[in-house]
């Protein structure tokens, strides 16, 4: 988007309303889908929908889309280590449970 901006651009009211409707719709979807049993995919579906919702909140409500790039890099680094922790944790536990 806009690079090297010194002062922040702003969002209008409209985009926030759109995102809000999107978030409510996704909440409806996640509730509707929760009743269906996809087996192991059930929790994955819930987490994917929650991630999409978080992405919308982060980029639009929290202005990351119009923020300087360094903010996005910071977030990606933080999430990277968060995901590493949980992957290693489960690598460990799935092994412990099986043995």
């Amino acid at each position: 988007m806009h690079k090297d901006e010194t002062h922040q651009h702003m969002h209008g009211y409209g985009i926030y309303l759109l995102v809000w409707m999107g978030l409510l719709t996704l909440t409806g979807v996640t509730v509707a889908v929760a009743g269906i049993n996809f087996g192991a995919l059930t929790i994955a579906t819930a987490l994917i929908i929650a991630s999409i919702k978080s992405y919308l909140v982060l980029t639009i409500f929290m202005h990351l889309r119009i923020e300087q790039r360094v903010f996005r890099i910071f977030l990606v680094v933080a999430l990277f280590f968060f995901i590493i922790s949980i992957v290693l944790l489960f690598a460990d536990y799935s092994f412990l449970i099986k043995s």
Binding site: L17, L23, L24, A46, F61, M62
Partner: protein, 206 residues
């Protein structure tokens, strides 16, 4: 913060650094809640069946309602920043007040939800709870700690926004200086994101 004033009433400030500081703080919140989500995921992995049974006790309707409330409060928070950017002070204050009211609404729901649980004898250390399976005890332990800590964040967020409303009324937060409001907004949206994950993980495992 450096508030060295120049002769022309020019106050030195760095809005980008202020927002960056807020983001760094939010990353520590990710660690705080992240640790609990790790705990939740391992316990659920080890006690899948019992988590399903225990989750049936939770009221999905209240959960849905509270989700809608928090999402809407995030909307009004974001709108209040746009309003102040457009120099519409009264509208900004109105949106902030709506945000605070929605936060209180969330806590009122939480109060009814928890007291209903207490009436059913489900609270940490109760005989009814201790008679349940170990996995169910873990589920309710996590439920109270995680939604409780989240609730505490909602209260803190509401107080913060209240302070910002006062600042807006007093003219500390203006069209040209609204980074404080933005920081409070970032905190509020984080509270929203945490709930976005808590809701399906606790209320929607059937």
């Amino acid at each position: 913060m450096n508030t060295q004033e120049h002769a022309v009433s020019h106050v030195h400030r760095d809005d980008i650094a202020s927002r960056m500081g807020m983001w760094l703080f939010l990353f520590t919140e990710l660690l705080l809640f992240g640790g609990m989500f790790f705990l939740y995921s391992v316990y659920r992995f080890m006690n899948a069946e019992e988590f399903h049974v225990a989750a049936k006790e939770l009221n999905t309707l209240i959960g849905c309602f509270n989700t809608a409330i928090l999402l809407t409060s995030s909307l009004t928070m974001a709108l209040s920043i746009t309003a102040i950017q457009k120099d519409n002070k009264r509208l900004s204050i109105l949106f902030q007040v709506i945000t605070i009211s929605l936060a209180l609404g969330f806590m009122v729901n939480k109060y009814f939800e928890w007291t209903t649980k207490f009436d059913h004898g489900i609270y940490p250390g109760s005989d009814t709870l201790l008679a349940k399976e170990p996995g169910e005890i873990l589920f309710f332990g996590l439920y109270y700690v995680m939604t409780g800590l989240h609730g505490l964040h909602v209260v803190i967020g509401a107080v913060l926004i209240g302070v910002m409303t006062r600042f807006t009324i007093k003219g500390v937060i203006t069209k040209d200086s609204f980074v404080k409001l933005e920081a409070a907004g970032l905190y509020w949206h984080l509270v929203d994101i945490i709930w976005i994950f808590l809701f399906p993980l606790f209320y929607l495992i059937t």
